[in-house]
Subunit: 222 residues, 4 copies
DNA sequence: TATGAATGAGTCTTCATTCAT
DNA sequence: CATGAATGAAGACTCATTCAT
């Protein structure tokens, strides 16, 4: 496989992108790669380790991915199929349908918990893409071109709608989007770096506090 | 040099830890390493690249660092000398001296701008330590043991003082510390990932907005 | 392979230790190593030379021997299989069966010729083990522990039997064993160092003279 | 220094070849080299180790010996000055003067003890020359050309004289010389390899036994 | 199609040798 | 003359990739 073979458009919005469409072997290899890459980094990983993790012969990897680099690009496939696509499709719409019936803090908590779950479930994959994209800009290219704009658009829609509804202050929507993202990212990263210091309770309790601060700030209301 | 030779205690609080104490050659190599590591990652970097960057012979590296791994550990020295030490010593005290005379938003803006400057000036070094510590836990060991606790303590002191002063809400101090950190980290990371989307103005203007949201939240005050 | 994998016990006394038990490639490499080590010494040999001698790629060596040092230890395998084992099993018994029917000088000549043939056929291997064991004591460890005692025991049995039979003088058996060994070693070494001076005839003629002197001395019988 | 600078002729027979003639530094280096070479072999030795052993700077070695190889050739100087020259000059003549007054066994014991002492006192040097000459034939060239013939000649004279005197059997003198050499070499080597097995008493007692066997053989006199 | 032995370019690292001080 | 920092060629060893089976 080769990243050129990935039709991101179809992948994001196509009807039935299931694992069946990708050869079982390919998934097997990609999943092993995600695990090993997360543990040792792309350059620090050995194709022999990946083969062992996938319980196949080393040579078999190269029947499905021409080079090790293609294997790195290959993990974009599950990134989109398992993370970005669900992020766009599933939750936001579902949550927003009920938006009027719920207060904004409940909505934010639901959305953030949903994202948090998705991130935690796929933390190895996200870790690898996040880090390796810093060294391999071509990893980001398909994301930047096709996917990031839609994610940003979706978030912006959500923010603008809530500004209009009087749930958010009338700030630059990007500022608010960034705050939403920062709050969640900060929680995840700091919990990862120093769990002893920064882990205060269950994810649900934590998210409630985060949303409280996000909405109301840390300052005294004067 | 060897990381065991670094006296982190002295480094953090000692009187005069200047570059003079470390052989010029060693600094030259470390600085080249920081640059190359930031560009290609530790595993993706070649000692020959580092030598070229430092404009010395490859063999010379190994007169100062027994192994490539020691070179990675060697960048902890400038991390502490150039970033963590200044973070602890310089700004907080200076800012806090004037704290009573300034409103909290001004103080936060000054602190955050100060940190932001420090981070931007050393972004290569920070990037490398942040990433490689995920793959080489021994990189974090000295930080975790000696330095992280002091940083957290300093931040907590600041937060608790401001809670007492009525500048911050009476929340769990860790929650507030985390919000402070998240806001800044989020700004830096998102600006790095998608400058087109997330860069809205000068750093100073951005920080003002961030502090506004941090203090007052994104929600409508009811 | 690794020297720990060698079961010296089985190697010495096991039924069928043939080259088939060791991968062909391994033998190919070991034989090349013996040749190159004998020519340039262990430290003076390059793994690239050994690969060229074996007509394989350099990397292939390391599929079979983790390090160059393991390759040195690997030559113990043929040392035992091709030299020490035959020395213990074949000749002595065969010769001793006929001992009573032959005079002692004939027996000694047969034994010494047999050993000489074995040594000459394997002189590269013996040279390398003899020399390198002076610098790598771990090379001797397995020999000293398992094998040397048996060889000495076999020789002592032979000597003591012949003392009892009235063929040898009633001296300390070790003295006699040492004389036997010295005579043969001296011949081989001096012939190697200065063939022009010390090579007087065919090996068979030489051995006859050596055994004559060994039995009767160089002095005049008074 | 360079081996071409050594005047072996003068060295062997010259009146006053003392250490004073060679720069003290040179001796210091050579002696360190002998020690380190004996321990690790020529190829296994580092010039830095030799410098440390000699308690000088590494660069200083190269003021006296253009290359490491020249340093190896340099140890021929003390080989000749301290071993071969004394072997030729001192003992044989002294012993032979008294030859008529002593029985041949006493003479042999004295000669062998004398040689043995010389060898033991210089075993590091001899070990290195013996081994390295197998890998660097040029080490032997000066010895073969100038020195070995004289040694052989001296021994042969001794042997032939004793044949004439009726002390030795009328065998090929080379056979007898070889037996003399083998007996001593065998004793030294076997004692070195397996002291537990082959060391039976004081050197003097051992030599007496060796000379007994050498003169009278191990067989029963019929 | 799957395998894994073989490959050899590319790495880190060593160390004899040079030379400015 | 002595030093030892710097050099870079050369070595052991790794590992992505190929290919015969």
């Amino acid at each position: 496989m080769n990243n050129k073979d990935i039709d991101f458009e179809k992948l994001l919005y196509g009807g039935n992108v299931t694992e069946e469409e990708m050869a079982t072997r390919q998934w097997q290899i990609i999943e092993a790669a995600i695990k090993v890459f997360a543990e040792k980094g792309y350059e620090g990983s050995r194709t022999s380790d990946i083969a062992k993790e996938a319980e196949i012969a080393e040579g078999t990897i190269f029947r499905y991915f021409k080079t090790k680099k293609d294997l790195l690009l290959g993990i974009l496939f599950p990134l989109i199929a398992k993370i970005l696509r669900p992020m766009l499709l599933s939750s936001v719409e579902n949550v927003m349908k009920n938006e009027n019936k719920r207060s904004i803090d409940k909505v934010l908590i639901l959305i953030m918990l949903d994202r948090l779950t998705l991130v935690i479930k796929n933390k190895e994959l996200i870790k690898t893409v996040a880090i390796e994209s810093l060294y391999h800009p071509d990893l980001l290219k398909p994301l930047r071109a096709d996917i990031a704009p839609r994610i940003i658009e979706t978030i912006n829609d959500f923010v603008e709608k809530n500004i209009a509804l009087g749930n958010f202050r009338d700030l630059n929507p990007t500022l608010i989007s960034r705050s939403l993202a920062s709050s969640l990212m900060g929680y995840i990263i700091l919990k990862g770096l120093a769990p002893d210091t920064f882990s205060l309770g269950s994810d649900e309790d934590e998210i409630k506090n985060i949303v409280d601060i996000l909405l109301n700030g840390i300052g005294i209301i004067k």
